[in-house]
């Protein structure tokens, strides 16, 4: 099981802040593919990966990063702090 967290408009579009999923995905991109295939709201949220950022166990990562050993994946838009 892997925990997936969503923030900002990604959270709103998918409709939940987090969920635990069973996945065989080897990379973030494969996980995104599985999520897209689930339901329209996921497909909409993940339609443009250039508008998204991903963190693995709370560190920024790339979409081609491996998921081996990762417990927490977070998807969110580019950050706007300060």
């Amino acid at each position: 099981m892997i925990d997936i967290l969503y923030f900002a408009w990604v959270r709103e579009r998918i409709g939940i802040p987090r969920e635990a999923v069973e996945t065989q995905a080897a990379t973030v991109a494969e996980l995104v593919g599985e999520l897209r295939a689930r339901e329209e709201r996921y497909a909409a949220a993940f339609s443009d990966l250039s508008a998204l950022r991903v963190a693995l166990d709370q560190d920024l990562a790339d979409f081609d990063a491996p998921l081996a050993g990762v417990r927490e994946v977070a998807f969110f838009p580019p950050m706007t702090g300060g």
């Binding site: 923030f7 900002a8 963190a55 838009p77 580019p78 950050m79 706007t80 702090g81």
Partner: protein, 147 residues
């Protein structure tokens, strides 16, 4: 060193005084920067800041560590609020101390540039017409290239 993420307001004078009072070792320069909620388009009722608890603190600590590698700093404070705030309320502040002002100024700018686009905060603007997420600006990303 201190990284603080909190929902409530802070007093910039108190924070600056406490920061200054804790300095040792001949710090000749203290720089503080405070960010304030700005009503850019008019009609802003509230600014809501969402963050990623856990990752936020890690990211800010990493940004501080990077600043310490680059400049000879005494102390660093990064304070950032989350939740809802009104126009003209203070969102965040950074403080740096150094023996010389160049280090303190540059490090404060570096901290600001990095926490804008590398710490997991997201701004949402609430107006009478509705609410919308603030889009990241290319200038903020470009600002990182100067470091």
């Amino acid at each position: 060193m201190a990284v603080r993420v909190q929902p409530g307001p802070f007093d910039m004078g108190e924070e600056a005084n406490a920061f200054a009072a804790a300095q040792t070792g001949g710090m000749g320069a203290i720089v503080t920067f405070t960010g304030v909620v700005r009503d850019v388009a008019g009609g802003l009722e509230a600014m809501e800041i969402e963050h990623y608890p856990g990752m936020t603190e890690r990211a800010l600590e990493r940004i501080e560590a990077q600043a310490r590698e680059r400049w000879a700093l005494g102390d660093v404070l990064i304070l950032h609020r989350h939740g809802r705030m009104r126009p003209d309320e203070m969102i965040m502040m950074v403080a740096t101390s150094a023996r010389h002002r160049g280090d303190a100024f540059e490090a404060a700018e570096f901290l600001m540039d990095y926490l804008k686009s590398r710490a997991p905060f997201w701004k949402k603007e609430h107006t009478a017409q509705g609410a919308g997420w603030v889009a990241a600006r290319d200038e903020d990303e470009d600002a990182l290239s100067r470091w």
